[in-house]
Every structure is written in C-alpha cells, then in structure tokens.
C-alpha cells in the first residue's frame, strides 16, 4: 500500500564491518533488520525505523548508523513537509494524531534565556567540597507560625511533611505506560537518593509494595488502581487534575499495553484501552476538590500530605491559589513541554503555557495572597539539566519533578513512539521480550548516578552564589537575569535583564 509519506530515517550498514551476527535482527522490534533468504546475510528495510538507536548501540562491530532521510518537497514556508505528512497520516487512518514525549516544536525555552549569578569580592563564594551544602527540602502544609515559649522546644503540631534529600523527584509515569522494570528502577533509585517516585494513574504493582514509602500515589479521573491499601501504602497522595502535555484531557493507555499484570494493578479488564475521563466526575468546581482532598485525608488518618497536580494553563496562578485554599498541601504545576506516553498531537503541541512563566506567576500570586509559605510548590514539565532546576527553585519552586531525564539515563533515546508499545529499550512497553532488556539493578544505578551528579552541580552553583542551603535559593530571583527577553516576559518572570 502506498501511504504517501516518505520514510523518516535510513539505516546504513557498513558492509565491511558487519559480521552478520544477527544481533540487530533480534533487537529491532520494528523489524527493520532481517536475514536474507540465504539465512546468513543481514539486510534491512528502513521504512519503520524510529531512530531509537537500539541496534546502533548494540552492534558489536559498530557497523550501523542512522541517517535522517532527506527528500525535498517543493518549498513552501506554510505547507511544510510536516503538515503535509500529518494530513496524509490522517487521510490514511481517519484518526486523531497521537504523539509521545514532550512537544518537539521550537517554542521559547525560558531556561535558555535566564542567567545565574555568582559572588565576587563583597560576598564570598562557598566551596561545596569543604563546607556543608544543603539540598534537603521539606514538602507539605506548614502552619503560619511556630509555637515556642522558649528556645529548644516547640508545641507546634505539624501536619504530615515529606523530607527529600535533593529537590528532584520522579514524575508520574504509570505502570502500563512504562514497564514494571522501569518503574522499579525509579523506585529503587528514589529510595537510595532519599526522594520519591510517582505511580501515575496505574496503581501499585505488588512487587513495589516494599518501596511504597517512597511512592507518591496518584488518584486520577479514571481512579485506576485506587483502593484503600494503595492510598495507605504511600508517602503522599497526588490528585491528578491535569498533565502539561495534554491539559484538558485524561490519560490514555492503549489496549496493547494492558496485559495481565497491568490489568491487575489498574483493576481493569485485560486488553482494554484505559481511557481516563477528561474531568474528575466528582470535581466540577473548587469546592468539590476540597471534598476529595478531605476524604483522602480522612481515609489515611491525616497521615499523608495531599498534592494536587494541575497543567500550566492560562489562568494557572488563580487555579493554584484555589487549590491551596481547597486544602492542597502541595501544588504541582506541569508545564506544556512536559512528556507523555501518549497524547493527541494537536493538544500536546498547542495547549498550555511554559512552566517558567506558570511557576513565576503562581509563586508570585501565592505570595501576594500571603500564603506561599504555607504550601509547597513543585514544578514539572521538562527539566533537562541541573541548571534548569536551579533556575526553577530561584523562581520559587520547592522542588522539581523529572521524568524524561531519568528515562534517558535508562536508555530512552526520545524516539517519541512510546504510544506504540514497541519501545526497544524496554521502557515504554509491556512486551516481555522487550521489558526484560531493562535490568533494574543496572538501570537504577544509572538513575542514581544522574541525580547524584545533578545534585552535585546544584551544590556547586549554590556555592558560587554564596548560598549554602537550598532554602536560601528558593524564590531568590535576584540570582537570575534575563537575556534577550521582552519587558513583559521579564515582568512575568519577576527578574531583571542581564546588565541591570
């Protein structure tokens, strides 16, 4: 069948190097590589290649290379090849375009337009190798003031708090959208790093019950996998209202990924699509959110902080403040560049606003209302490196959620086809032959390495600023300067321009 769309990549095999071992044939779930009729010579068909590099990285002789397939169209700045191809895809199938991972569109990334400060002369920088440098953060609702009649003793009754040793947590990725091995790797890493992982809306697999002290368990509109023990076996409960990659719509797990294990964890029939409703059908307004928060708290004897995750949309600051007033202990804002296992392309690429602006606006709004210090604010939606995190904390975040970065540490190459369930790296798939490729013992160490390295970098950057505690970085916008930003952007970010 002709599908009117040229292929995207060409697989190039160096015949001089290839020893026809067949490794690539076994590795590519997209069936690009195959044995010739002679049963000995390896050949390939590039049409279904997604550039995941699994074959490239595993070829023992380094014979493989993936190249972008260039096939020029008649030039037209409006009708770009991408739009033409998307139209053809829809003409072929008649369905909504689906995509995975964060939007690839070149929207402004404000992290790249913000510069950090360092001390010189008037204020010494601090050497993180020689001096203590604190990255511990405490999340949860705080009373307005301390009750203490004398030094050394307090009578304050603290609501439940979460202590994390680095301001980086693992964002929601459900078992179902990712493999059990992938989720287990994150959970094991979270335990060792003293931080948290997040179950997403996929329930908690029995294999992870022993790591539930490091779990944020999600309650999403589909209520998949939600039961009393699930809620009680957790560190924190997160009500998912929205997700940055697809604000306004619910989660979507294609039936191909729902095997027996996933169906048990989610409490849904095997093979059925797990489609969460767009809204929570018991939350049509802010008062309803309040009721859900309180019932979750009651169910867990007020022992778990309840967080509310919202997508960064236009009115995000008012919504964040509403969530705080409805009783959320932690507010998570997910920016529109955030990743996803599957989202309608048009929504992913067009709905929502960047986390930088959403975070800056929400933090300021909560301060204007005098309630910022009583709730925690967590930012999500694409942190690529430690300096992105430093900038987010200086804008006002208590901590950041990361997901794509630890996946990349485990092997993900951002091929953007998680929704097909054929992830060659054993991450976004449930096929046993693929998931077994991901060894949690190895993968969790790689994730620990990554977060440890980032935490070190955060300490170095803080030391350079003359700060030895993350508490003094939080909301410290004077440490930030914009570069190449308009007056309006600077105003929303609440920062000055470089040189000012």
């Amino acid at each position: 069948m002709i599908n009117y769309i040229p292929r995207r990549f060409t697989v190039i095999r160096d015949k001089d190097k290839c020893v026809n071992c067949g490794c690539c044939v076994r590795q590519c779930s997209n069936e690009c590589h195959y044995f010739d009729d002679d049963g000995k010579t390896v050949l390939c068909n590039s049409n279904t290649c997604v550039a995941c590099h699994r074959c490239v990285d595993l070829c023992p002789t380094g014979a493989l290379r993936i190249e972008k397939y260039v096939c020029d169209y008649n030039e037209n700045a409006n009708w770009t090849p991408q739009y033409q191809q998307e139209i053809c895809r829809q003409a072929n199938t008649g369905s909504t375009l689906l995509s995975a991972m964060g939007t690839p569109k070149p929207y402004p990334i404000y992290w790249d337009h913000i510069l950090l400060n360092a001390s010189q002369v008037t204020n010494p920088s601090i050497d993180p190798l020689r001096e203590p440098m604190e990255t511990r953060a405490i999340l949860g609702r705080k009373p307005e003031k301390l009750e203490a009649d004398k030094k050394g003793k307090t009578t304050t009754k603290m609501p439940p708090q979460i202590i994390i040793e680095t301001p980086i947590m693992f964002s929601a990725m459900s078992f179902g959208s990712i493999s059990l091995n992938a989720q287990k790797s994150l959970a094991m890493a979270a335990k060792e790093l003293g931080t948290l992982f997040n179950t997403g809306e996929g329930g908690l697999h029995p294999d992870l019950y022993n790591l539930s002290d490091y779990a944020v368990v999600q309650v999403a509109s589909g209520r998949f996998g939600v039961h009393k023990d699930y809620l009680k076996n957790s560190k924190c409960i997160e009500i998912k209202i929205g997700q940055g990659a697809k604000p306004g719509i619910g989660g979507h797990l294609p039936g191909e990924k729902v095997n027996v294990e996933v169906s048990n964890a989610r409490m849904i029939p095997e093979g059925s699509d797990a489609i969460s409703p767009a809204p929570h059908h018991d939350i049509y307004s802010i008062e309803d959110l309040r009721q859900l928060i309180w019932s979750l708290k009651q169910l867990t004897d007020n022992k778990k902080p309840v967080s509310v995750k919202i997508a960064a949309v236009h009115n995000v600051s008012a919504i964040a403040s509403g969530c705080a007033r409805a009783g959320a202990d932690i507010i998570v804002i997910d920016g529109f560049r955030g990743g996803t296992g599957a989202a309608p392309t048009r929504i992913r690429d067009n709905v929502g606003i960047p986390i930088e602006l959403a975070l800056a606006a929400a933090d300021q709004r909560l301060r204007d209302e005098g309630i910022r210090s009583t709730v925690s604010l967590v930012a999500a939606g694409s942190f690529r490196c430690s300096s992105d995190i430093v900038k987010a904390i200086a804008l006002g975040a208590d901590a950041c959620y990361v997901a794509s970065a630890p996946l990349i540490a485990m092997g993900c190459h951002m091929c953007g086809t998680c929704n097909t369930g054929k992830c060659n790296w054993g991450i976004a798939t449930q096929r046993p032959e693929l998931t077994k490729r991901l060894n949690p013992e190895i993968a969790h160490k790689r994730v620990i390495n990554l977060i440890t390295a980032w935490t070190h970098e955060i300490k170095e950057i803080m030391g350079g600023m003359g700060i030895n505690s993350i508490d003094s970085l939080r909301g410290n916008r004077l440490m930030l300067r914009g570069i190449g930003l308009s007056e309006k952007e600077l105003e929303i970010l609440g920062i000055k321009h470089a040189g000012e």
Partner: protein
C-alpha cells in the same frame, strides 16, 4: 544615578555595641571611641548610632527623628504627625558643624503619643499603628524620612565616618544603657543620609555587617506580610524579619535568632529528639527567613541586646563581658580600647546567638 532604595548597593562595615544589663548609663563618648578604632572598615559614606534610655523625660512617648530635604516636606510631614500623634515637643536635633560632614538634610525630633481616637478607629494596636504611620510617611511624603521612631531611644546617623557623625550629633551629651554603632563601606556612593545605619523600626534597631546572599528569598518572604522593602538593604530586611517574628508571631528573641541562623541539617540530625523536632519544625516553617551568606548582626531593643553571626562564620564578631557590661565589635581591639581588661572575651560563633537581656524592667505605664 539611582539612590538607595531604587537600587541594591552591597556594602561592608564595622559594628560595635555596649550594654549595661543593670541599666546604668554609659556616655556616648565610649561607643565613639570603640567604633573610631575601626576607621578603616568604613569609607566615610555612612555612620550611625542607636542609643537606649536617652529620653527618660519622654519615656512613654515615641521619639521621631526625621530628615527633611526641604521645608515643604517638613510641613506635610508635620501635618501628618500632628494629626496622628499628640506631639509634645517639636525641635531641631542639636548638631554642631564638623568639617568632614557635608551640609545634609534638616534634622528634627518630635515626642508624642499615638492619637487614641485615630488608633482605636484604625483597630490597630499601638505598635502596628506607629509602624504603619512611619511607613506611610517614608513611602508617600517625598523628601521626608523618619529614621527613628522608638520610645526612650533614638538613632543618629549621617553620611560620614562614624566618629565624625558622633561628634556632629554631640553624642557625648547623651547617656544610654545600650549603644550600638555602625560604620559603612558601601561599594557605591548613594550620598543619602537615610541610607546610613542603624535601621530602626519601633524599638528595634539593627546594625549589620555583611552582604547576605539570601536577600531576595528573605525579601519575598517578608513582603507576603505587608512589609515593603523600600531601601533594598540587608539591614532593612533583617529588621523586618525580627519585627515580624517577635511582634506578629510572638516568638521569644532567642527563638527568632534561631530562625535566622538555624543550624545545619547535619547537626540537627544528630540532636536529641526534642531539639531535633524543634529545629526541623522551625526550619520547615521559616525556610524563607533563614539568612544566608556572610553577616554579623546586632539587634538593640529595650529588652536587651542580641548578637548573631552567620552559619559559616564568614564575618568577624567578638564579644566581651566585664561586670555588668557586655561589649561587641567587629574587631577585638575595638573592645579593648574601652575595656582593656575584660572578664571574658570570645568570638561569637555562627548559629550560636548571644542574647544579653536587660535585667531591669523598664516601667511603661499604660
């Protein structure tokens, strides 16, 4: 060029303080002698003093010290003060010409009690009423600046070296049980008298040495509660933090000091359970009020004197005791010149605040 308040100007400094905990009076010449020894730590761009117990005849009234840039400003400000307070005395603060001090603003002093009727209708307690009136004048009357507003205390400051400022105000004519002094080394020349230190609000006065790196975190924390940091100085934000913790949250002064210089987690984790809980709770609630970077701070009040130093001890601060008196200074020599033979001398360590309470209760009639 932008003046202080429109821009943040980093500065280094010298600080000194003396307290007699029995309330016996100390002449102003002593503190001048102490601070002048540290001449090199200032650069002539700001000096000042705070003195407690100097107005026994007006001890129940607020003493407002005001800088005026012009007559117009004085008229507007006086109109405001006369309306909101029952002013007993309005006079120029006596000064004498000192060659090194340029012609500055017109400096006035007023003694008066809050106007009861206005205060009651505003539904504020007296402290809040006074604080809001001062903020109002400083933010809305161009050319008028109230730089001191406490009871039975006063700040005296100018652009100049501290010893010259002391001479200018003739501080040897004042007797106080508590003195603090400040010499400034700004990296920039604001040339504005209001920018000199101590910084004062109600009975609290602060002298501070250092440049804090947590400035904007602290500013954005405190501005949640209605404070406006117009001066953009560390001293201002630290003063507001203390004012908020002591007056609005009713914390004992040592607890407030713990908030600003909380110990490190490493240390807290090793503490016995109740102390661990105390510091963990304190740090969780007041993470925005933790002060970071090099600083030493002396807080004067009618309850006593508090000295704190940064967590890494990046700024020097020495303390000494002799009989009923306690001395503090950026350098030990500045203490020894007025107290050659102290009973005890030590260096104030980071995260270990020193509080010298005043042992006599000042009688305040209600």
């Amino acid at each position: 060029m932008l003046k202080e308040g429109q821009i943040r100007i980093p500065s280094g400094c010298a600080i000194a303080a003396i307290i007699d905990k029995k309330g016996n009076k100390i002449n102003g010449s002593e503190i001048i002698k102490s601070i002048s020894l540290m001449h090199d730590r200032s650069n002539g761009l700001g000096g000042g003093f705070a003195a407690y117990g100097i107005y026994p005849d007006h001890k129940d009234e607020n003493a407002f010290h005001v800088f005026y840039d012009n007559v117009e400003a004085r008229k507007t400000c006086e109109e405001f003060l006369f309306k909101h307070f029952n002013i007993d005395v309005a006079e120029r603060i006596p000064t004498k010409p000192v060659p090194s001090i340029d012609l500055g603003p017109d400096i006035w002093r007023y003694f008066g009690k809050a106007n009861r009727v206005r205060m009651k209708t505003s539904r504020l307690d007296e402290d809040e009423y006074v604080a809001q009136c001062v903020t109002k004048v400083n933010n809305s009357i161009e050319g008028a600046y109230i730089f001191s507003s406490g009871k039975n205390m006063g700040c005296f400051k100018a652009v100049g070296y501290p010893e010259d400022v002391g001479e200018f105000y003739m501080l040897d004519r004042y007797e106080a049980y508590l003195w603090t002094a400040h010499g400034r080394f700004p990296t920039n020349t604001p040339g504005w008298w209001g920018g000199a230190h101590p910084f004062n609000i109600l009975d609290w006065s602060i002298v501070h040495n250092g440049e804090i790196s947590s400035y904007d975190t602290n500013r954005r924390y405190i501005e949640q509660f209605g404070y406006i940091c117009t001066m953009q100085t560390d001293t201002e934000v630290i003063t507001y933090l203390f004012d908020h913790l002591l007056r609005h949250h009713n914390l004992p002064i040592e607890v407030a000091a713990d908030v600003l210089t909380a110990p490190e987690w490493d240390e807290i984790d090793r503490m016995p359970e109740d102390k661990k809980e105390y510091f963990t709770t304190l740090r969780a609630i007041y993470s925005g009020a933790l002060v970071n970077g090099p600083f030493s701070v002396i807080l004067g009040s009618n309850k006593g004197l508090l000295a704190i130093n940064d967590r890494l001890k990046l700024r020097s601060l020495t303390a000494a005791i002799k009989g009923d008196r306690a001395y503090f200074a950026s350098e030990e020599s500045a203490i020894r010149i007025i107290c050659p033979d102290p009973d005890k001398v030590w260096s104030v360590s980071g995260a270990e605040p020193v509080f010298i309470p005043l042992e006599i209760e000042e009688e305040v009639d209600e």
